[in-house]
């Protein structure tokens, strides 16, 4: 499902943290579906593009570059 896709497909660049890594994913795809595909809990991340939040129902288009930012911090309280 990841990696190179046929040329008529849209490709979305995705940056993940902890550990930091970059993926390319076939689109178009909504944020909600992208998170589900990556098996990420919507409560535990935010999606950011150019410093702004991207809502869950938005569809990512060609050459979109997004960051999936974890929001859960650890440590004793």
């Amino acid at each position: 499902m990841f990696g190179l896709s046929a040329c008529d497909h849209v490709r979305v660049k995705v940056r993940l943290h902890n550990p930091r890594r970059d993926l390319e994913i076939e689109g178009p795809i909504t944020i909600i579906n992208l998170l589900a595909r990556l098996d990420l809990n919507r409560e535990a991340v935010l999606v950011v593009r150019d410093g702004e939040l991207v809502p869950g129902d938005e569809s990512l288009a060609d050459d979109d570059a997004i960051e999936i930012r974890p929001v859960i911090s650890g440590g004793e309280q």
């Binding site: 902890n18 809502p55 974890p70 929001v71 859960i72 911090s73 004793e76």
Partner: protein, 324 residues
């Protein structure tokens, strides 16, 4: 997705409130939740001298910013824990926030003041890093708040933090901790008043608040946190939350409303026989306090004290003389 307030395009959904918000009304929502927490639990007044513990992370910078927005005057306190590059970067974020807004940030550096750092010191003392770290932070928060004459110490604990701690304490029936897990702990016997005004906001919301407000914070996780229990509890609760939005809120607030009082008596037992630490003057039930013992076992050194924290902690065997 439309904003529940203005019907404009929304940038965030908050499923437990069954609401979506645009940037402007999301910030308004955060203000409302913090104001509600402050009022509901009578946390502090505009006239109080407030100190916020700042780590450079999203929660502490968000609460500092929220309190300033709401018209409180608040100083910051940063504790340097010597966790390599993580500590350096987090200090940069705390300083940058304070500097651009001309705020007062108190800095305490553990390695240069006490001669140990958390990664090595915890190993030498045979303690889990997060437990040595938490103990050091709590001690230094208390000490600086008392020393600076602050009325209240604010920490950035959010709904996820409180629900996760409650989950852990319930799982193991740590009843002595359950009675103390409140959004407000009153000042007593050398301890400052402590409050958690972010309890009505989830972690995802405090991060979103920083992004919307353009507040830069340290995104990378502390290297010591990996695999700790607290993170495991948070993940477990988020699994539940995903299927049943509002579960974390009702778990924590239901506990406050209907259960916490049953553990209150046990929580107050540790106040018996509180005296001053022979070494630093902080309140303790032992000869020397847990922090001074940690410093010693971690191979560090206690600096010469002026005895600031010893004010009125000359309690003798009873519990008189609390600092209010």
């Amino acid at each position: 997705m439309k904003c529940v307030t203005c019907r404009g395009p929304a940038i965030i959904d908050i499923r437990r409130h069954n609401s979506n918000f645009c940037a402007e009304h999301f910030i308004e929502q955060c203000h409302r939740q913090v104001r509600k927490a402050i009022e509901e639990f009578s946390m502090f007044e505009k006239s109080d001298k407030i100190l916020v513990a700042v780590s450079g992370g999203k929660d502490s910078l968000a609460i500092w910013d929220l309190l300033l927005d709401l018209g409180y005057s608040v100083d910051g306190l940063y504790i340097g824990l010597g966790i390599g590059g993580y500590s350096d970067t987090s200090l940069d974020y705390a300083r940058a926030y304070a500097k651009t807004r001309s705020l007062h940030l108190i800095e305490v550096d553990v390695p240069s003041t006490f001669g140990f750092d958390i990664p090595n010191g915890s190993r030498a003392a045979k303690r889990v890093p997060c437990s040595a770290c938490g103990l050091s932070k709590r001690h230094l928060f208390d000490e600086e708040a008392i020393k600076g004459g602050y009325d209240v110490l604010v920490t950035g604990h959010n709904l996820d933090d409180e629900a996760a701690v409650l989950f852990g304490n319930t799982l193991h029936w740590h009843t002595e901790y359950l009675g103390r897990q409140l959004p407000v702990l009153p000042a007593r016997d050398g301890f400052p008043r402590k409050v958690k005004p972010l309890v009505r906001l989830a972690e995802r919301e405090t991060a979103a608040y920083c992004i919307v407000k353009g507040i830069d914070y340290i995104v990378d996780e502390c290297p010591m946190a990996a695999g700790n229990k607290h993170l495991g509890y948070k993940n477990a609760l988020n699994e539940i939350e995903a299927g049943s939005p509002g579960a974390k809120h009702s778990f924590y607030f239901g506990f406050l409303d209907r259960a916490a009082e049953f553990f209150a008596a046990e929580a107050s037992i540790d106040r018996e026989g509180l005296g001053a630490c022979a070494s630093c003057g902080a309140p303790t039930t032992s000869e020397t306090c847990a922090f001074c013992r940690l410093v010693e076992r971690a191979g560090g050194q206690l600096p010469e004290r002026t005895g600031v924290n010893a004010v009125s902690v000359d309690l003798g065997p009873t519990r008189s003389g609390s600092i209010q």
